[in-house]
Amino acid sequence: MQQSFSSTAAACRDWWRGTRNARAWWTLARYDIVLRYRRSMLGPLWLTISMGLMLLGIGPLYTELFGVSKSEFFPHLALGIIFWQYFAGTINDGCTAFSGAANHIKQGDNPLAVFGWRVWARNLIQFAHHIVLVVPIAIWAGISPAPANLLFFAGFLIVLANLLAATFTLGIVCARFRDVPPIVSSLMQFLMFVTPVFWLPDKLPPKARLLLLNPFAQLLDVVRGPLLDRTPPPAVWASILGWTVLNVAVAAILYARKRSQVVYWL
């Protein structure tokens, strides 16, 4: 009992030591982005451009296919794609959080947590380059700010917590089992289609409503809903909070128990 308590405390200290060194993980994340676009003229602006082009390509097509009104559907679709890419990007990236940072980890200057935060921050920076597209879209669709939009921030905090937890969990699991990353990436592909990224949830036949129980649908709902003035019902908030607690708990337990072994697997 005494020992498990002190090892939990040690894990917390270790995690906090890495978390506190925000300058390290933020710099690493920033370099990841800047260096990737170093040899291109427009730099990270490409992130925005390629997302914009994708939306321009998919938007009109799907609007026609589904036969829905443009100004209603396009913001839904655009936010869906932007958020989904953020979720899936972080989760796929999280798989290599530690195995991809072996060179730094073996230098021994920083606790593991730094490299989890780095992936989390790198994807947040990417997301920031995408989400700016919301402004022109909102203007085009004639959406004006409403008080309910503020709930977005609550939803986004939930997203941030979940993505951080997933990064740590997957980073540890994938350092040990190297066939997990492709499994994760196929799974995310599958989840994209059963989550209302591309389609409107109210068009679902009643039997298919079960799809909306998947945690990614709820995660999307708590950030996209408030922005489109369609605040999700309390049941969705309660459910996603439950998932968040579970997700964070799994990450915390894995970090506490396995963090010191990770370096042996690299």
Partner: protein
């Protein structure tokens, strides 16, 4: 007082075979009681065993031993990279490690950026880095090359940069692994002078090397490793 103490430390690496890193195989072998998934069996390499070592201020320890005898692993364990599976490690003081320092570089970033990055990762304050950076740049002798991506450097140039960074940052304990083998004659002399300076300043040096010459010149204590165990730990008479 800076010191590192290892007590009965053992370090073992699990080496997973081709299938050992596969989740599918580990799961299927647990289902079948481990008979089918023989390849999922884990080989364990005992890299260090029953290492007890007390390194105090003023010690300049040379580590000798064949390839694979555990020298680098011992350095990394001293640094705290590998938490020992058995025994305890206790360390006081700022440790700077020159074990594969080139590994910590970002190839696409410039020399200047790599200096900044190493500083940040080592937790050096911005003010201190602002003071250290010109000094590092000068010692490296890389001049305009510092504005070029590090991937364009030769291995000797990389080593210059890595060495300059690692030895400019103040530390109490310096760990080194065969670094002197790279670099031209001029830089070697310069580096040896710098090394002496750092050692005088830091108090503790641990140097793994195959060169008995180097060790007898730089060290006052020799440890010999054989198959992960210490087989000799003795003082050298200064001279």
């Amino acid at each position: 007082m800076p010191h590192i103490t290892l007590t009965d430390v053992s370090v073992a690496f699990p080496i997973f075979g081709a299938y050992g890193t596969s989740l599918k195989h580990v799961l299927s072998s647990s289902v079948t009681g481990g008979r089918i998934g023989q390849d999922a069996g884990v080989t364990v390499i005992q890299a260090l065993q029953d290492i007890s070592l007390d390194i105090r201020e003023g010690d300049r320890v040379g580590i000798m031993g064949h390839n694979g005898s555990g020298k680098t692993t011992l350095l990394r364990t001293l640094k705290g990279v590998f938490p020992p599976q058995g025994g305890t490690r206790e360390a006081v003081g700022r440790i700077s490690s020159l074990v594969e320092p080139v590994q910590g570089m970002e190839p696409e970033a410039t020399g200047w950026e790599n200096i900044a990055l190493r500083g940040v990762l080592k937790g050096i304050s911005q003010a201190e880095m602002a003071r250290l950076t010109p000094e590092i740049a000068e010692f490296s002798g890389l001049g305009d090359y510092l504005s070029m991506p590090v991937r364009t450097y030769s291995s000797g140039m990389m080593m210059r940069l890595a060495f300059s960074i690692a030895t400019s940052i103040r530390c109490d304990i310096l760990l080194m692994d065969e670094w002197l083998s790279v670099g031209d004659v001029e830089f070697k002399e310069q580096a040896e002078a710098r090394l002496r300076e750092v050692v005088d300043r830091s108090g503790i040096l641990v140097l793994a090397s195959h060169s008995a010459d180097l060790i007898s010149r730089e060290c006052n204590r020799v440890i010999e490793l054989r198959q992960g165990r210490i087989v000799r730990d003795g003082r050298l008479v200064a001279g």
